[in-house]
Amino acid sequence: MSEHIVSPKVYVGIFLSLMVLTAATVAAAYVNLGPFNIVIALAIASVKATLVVLYFMHARYSPKRTHMVIIAAVFWLAVMLALTLSDYVTRDRDMAADTQVTKVS
């Protein structure tokens, strides 16, 4: 942790941005954008999370190894989600349509 002291003004600014983004995400949810609803919701959430990490959690002023830890966590989470989903989303387009696994509900 560096000795960098973030001024309260920055904190308040971040807080206000987070509020605006929260309003935006709620507003966006009421508009039908098809598959893009989830994309926008996650994009806004990620911007909010990034702001919190960078300023509230001082990651912006932290040593490189902190950045590495953050990147590792996000990367591993992405690996888990992406590789698991790689199984499920490619099942429908299997090269062998007849061995395709269908969900029986």
Binding site: V26, L42, V69, L81
Partner: protein, 243 residues
């Protein structure tokens, strides 16, 4: 290892001690990311399978309460950040005040959560043998708005037409809702406990500009819990509001 003043015996310098604590906390949070990650994975796959049931389940949540909680939690993150600032510039009273505000906001969040859980309990939306997605429209309370019930009934009958096994799939949504918000709330409770300890330490004047590591570390934890909520809010409350 014995402690001399602010320095624990295994460390050579305060700087080293602080660095270690910060790295340790970040590493711990990376573990937490993957811990919640298992739930997020389960959520993603099931939402992929059962979009209708997840939409229906999501729409039964009270967006006003969820939104209020989002505001409360982000505000608590602000007060937490302010207490870190106050402690690092040596403003003891303000440190304590901001910590207390954080604790109060955290408790408010949990209070709202209790109200929400209670609602779900009343509407038989807690997973288990009594789970019934259309319980509320079957047994409306006297003070329920009949128009609202009518609208919900219509939505449910449409959903049942699309997904005959809606009840089971909506139950999955609520299992995840309670699983994720429950685990999040558990983290809040742990955080609140640590805040109580911090407030006490702060009142005793333990924190100085050279030594405010506990405030910073618990701050990191608190912000992390905030981030989890930042994702949970759209994923749980805002799936299908445009319908």
């Amino acid at each position: 290892m014995h402690r001399t003043g602010e320095l624990y015996g295994q460390f050579e310098t305060l700087e080293q001690q602080k660095e270690s604590a910060a790295l340790g906390m970040w590493v711990f949070l990376s573990t937490e990311v993957l811990f919640f990650g298992g739930l997020f994975m389960t959520y993603t796959l099931n939402r992929h399978y059962y979009p209708v049931a997840f939409g229906v389940g999501s729409n039964t949540l009270d967006l006003k309460l969820g939104g209020l909680n989002t505001v409360i939690l982000i505000l608590s993150s602000l007060t937490m950040a302010m207490s870190v600032w106050a402690s690092s510039v040596g403003k003891r009273k303000q440190t304590t005040a901001f910590l207390a505000a954080t604790l109060a906001l955290g408790s408010a969040f949990l209070g709202v959560k209790v109200i929400e859980y209670k609602q779900k309990f009343d509407h038989h939306l807690v997973p288990g043998y009594h789970f019934q997605i259309d319980y509320r429209v079957q047994h409306p309370a006297p003070n329920d708005d009949p128009k609202e019930i009518e609208a919900e009934k219509e939505e449910l009958s449409k959903a049942f037409a699309e997904d005959p096994d809606l009840n089971a799939h909506a139950q999955l949504y609520f299992s995840l809702y309670f699983g994720m918000t429950g685990l999040h709330a558990l983290h809040m409770i742990v955080g609140a406990g640590m805040l109580v300890w911090l407030i006490r330490q702060s009142m005793l004047g333990r924190f100085t500009p050279t030594y405010n590591t506990p405030v910073e570390m618990i701050g990191l934890y608190w912000h992390f819990v905030d981030i989890v909520w930042i994702y949970l809010f759209p994923l749980l409350y805002l799936i299908d509001r445009h319908r």
